[in-house]
């Protein structure tokens, strides 16, 4: 295919430098916005998605299926369930049945006057590590019952502005109760990374409640149907069962309006920036109507000239958008966002980079279209007469 020389394309960019810089800035802002929106959505999806497992089910209070924090079931349910359902996964004789209480509480670093943050606190026993295998103890030890101890996720600590590496031994106040951090944990990409874990009994006492929130069960040979049969046979316990994956999928669906809003707002803002960039580029190129006609007179086919304009627009817009994406990653990468289910980190991944680059390419196509539109519509003799 006939193309104009690369020197022509590259040096073409040095003309009208002010407009080239404006176009670059427009693409940069558009790329940064799109990459950040993608990182937000990706972070939320990943946090909720990677928290769930296909083999796990959640047994919770009937009528509270939309939120574990609202769920209340009897403290004896885990034992009854364990005795009634055959085929629950076991490791070293220990069943993968985790009784848990989930509450959102104000949390402050000891000495601070007011609560610094709200955090999701999970009351758990040792079986929690069996049903949440993505959780890794990264420092310290498991909290002891009755000792006022707590385990903290790395994101949760960072939200309070404390380095997770230096967290052990720190004192925090949860709902007015002073506690000591004795261990740190990590669950990359999961909402658990932003949680506080303490012994179930301690949290139950702290909250002055006699119930727990749920039982998380990891199934081996048993199916969710077996657990459903149990809940139906024990209507007195008022239980409901959900596949963990469905629970987090419904949460994701619950947050769909937020995700749509983020996507729409970011797209609209990016569109404004992109149109600014595209119009600056188009203005720079539309002055070249006569030059394009001269190239055609020299023997260059129209598609070669259009491709050259597209190439020049692509160089400016895609590089601007890519730099915008990288800049956003540098500025906001790893930034933690709190939502009712915990915390997630903005996830600048290949999708965010690709979307930023695609945004740049769209800017380039729009700019190339606007730039060449006038020339394409003019007969060559008329184009040669333009000033």
């Amino acid at each position: 295919m006939t193309m104009l020389p690369m020197e022509y394309s590259l040096r073409g960019l040095t003309r009208g430098r002010g407009r080239t810089v404006l176009a670059l800035m427009g693409s940069l802002v558009a790329g940064a916005l799109i990459a950040t929106a993608s990182a937000f959505l990706g972070g939320m999806e990943s946090a909720l998605g990677s928290t769930a497992s296909p083999s796990r089910v959640i047994v919770m209070g009937a009528g509270s299926e939309e939120s574990l924090e609202r769920s209340e079931i009897g403290a004896r349910v885990p034992g009854v369930l364990s005795a009634s359902v055959q085929g629950i996964r076991r490791t070293a004789g220990m069943e993968h049945v985790s009784a848990e209480t989930h509450v959102a509480l104000p949390i402050a670093v000891d000495g601070a006057e007011a609560a610094s943050d709200n955090g999701l606190v999970r009351g758990v026993g040792p079986a929690a590590l069996l049903v949440h295998p993505n959780v890794q103890l990264t420092g310290g030890r498991w909290p002891e019952r009755g000792a006022g101890e707590v385990l903290v996720g790395s994101s949760a600590m960072r939200r309070l502005g404390v380095d997770p590496a230096a967290a052990i031994g720190s004192r925090v106040v949860l709902a007015g109760a002073p506690l000591t951090i004795v261990g740190t944990m990590q669950a990359p990409g999961s909402t658990i990374d932003g949680e506080w874990w303490m012994p179930l009994e301690d949290l139950t006492t702290l909250m002055r409640r006699e119930t727990i929130s749920c039982v998380i069960v990891d199934l081996d040979r048993a199916t969710i149907g077996d657990v459903q049969a149990f809940t139906l046979s024990r209507l007195d316990l008022e239980l409901a069962v959900l596949a963990e994956r469905d629970y987090y999928a419904s949460l994701l669906a619950f947050f769909a309006p937020v995700r749509v809003l983020v996507a729409v707002v970011a797209t609209l803002m990016a569109l404004a920036a992109a149109l600014g960039g595209a119009s600056a580029l188009a203005a720079a190129f539309s002055e070249r109507v006569r030059e394009n006609a001269v190239l055609e007179t020299l023997g260059y086919p129209r598609h070669a000239v259009i491709l050259d304009v597209l190439l020049q627009c692509t160089i400016v817009a895609v590089s601007g958008a890519a730099v915008g994406g990288l800049l956003a990653q540098w500025l906001f990468g790893g930034m933690l966002v709190e939502f009712s289910m915990g915390t997630f980190a903005l996830q600048f991944d290949a999708r965010a980079t690709l979307l930023a680059a695609v945004t740049g390419f769209v800017v380039a196509i729009v700019a190339a279209f606007l730039s060449t539109w006038r020339w394409i519509g003019l007969p060559t003799p008329e184009a040669l007469r333009t000033t």
Partner: protein, 228 residues
């Protein structure tokens, strides 16, 4: 032997719903190796005829053969390719690419030809030497005078060794000294290389440099004068 044959050539435009006959059944023959000046009042169809000969405009009716090729049979891309092989075009306002050096401007049409880099270099150097700009290779258009810019434009038109050199008022933007230099160059190209030249001009003195002057009036052939 004729290189160009125009038979009953017409070019009409629509202006405000009214048809304007810019060329009206024009019959004209131009020989290979000839040097022709096209003259006539404004609106007589000189530039339109030149554009038709270059294949950058299309006739409304009639026949136009250039070196045996019926231009009406070629589509836009084929015309571009044909032009790159057969036509060198010199504009009144030079129309050099401002970001390319004199050398690169002259090389630009050669990139459409299947030539080695060495052959391309040889031809560009030769073309710039033929217009006395051997020492201006690296200069950008803005660093050259008007006369020098036009000579670069002529080198660009000649570098592909075209069958036909077309010039639209090539001295229209130059002072007398530079205009004479350009006309001397055209005369030399015609005499020494047998280059076929068709040039549009308003200037009688410039037209006298050609061996034949074709005068158009209202889109028709008025007179043909042959220089002695």
């Amino acid at each position: 032997m004729s290189l160009i044959e125009c038979r009953s050539l017409c070019k009409d435009y629509q202006r405000g719903g009214e048809a304007v006959h810019v060329l009206d059944r024009l019959d004209l023959s131009i020989d290979r190796g000839s040097y022709t000046a096209l003259m006539g009042p404004s609106g007589s169809g000189k530039t339109t005829l030149l554009n038709l000969l270059a294949g950058i405009d299309r006739a409304s009716s009639g026949e136009l053969l250039v070196d045996g090729t019926d231009l009406a049979q070629l589509d836009r891309n084929q015309l571009a390719l044909w032009r790159s092989r057969h036509v060198g075009y010199v504009f009144q306002l030079y129309n050099l690419v401002p970001v390319l050096s004199a050398y690169e401007n002259v090389e630009l049409p050669l990139l459409l030809h299947d030539l080695t880099a060495a052959e391309r270099h040889r031809r560009v150097v030769e073309a710039l030497e033929s217009v006395d700009l051997a020492t201006r290779h690296g200069h950008l258009p803005r660093q050259l005078s008007g006369g020098q810019e036009q000579r670069v434009a002529i080198a660009r038109a000649l570098v592909t060794q075209p069958t036909l050199l077309l010039a639209d008022e090539p001295t229209g933007d130059l002072d007398r000294t530079n205009a004479d230099a350009v006309m001397d160059l055209f005369g030399r190209l015609h005499r020494e290389r047998g280059q076929t030249i068709v040039m549009v001009t308003h200037d009688e003195a410039i037209a006298r440099r050609a061996e034949r002057t074709v005068r158009l009036e209202k889109g028709r052939l008025a007179t043909v004068e042959v220089a002695r």
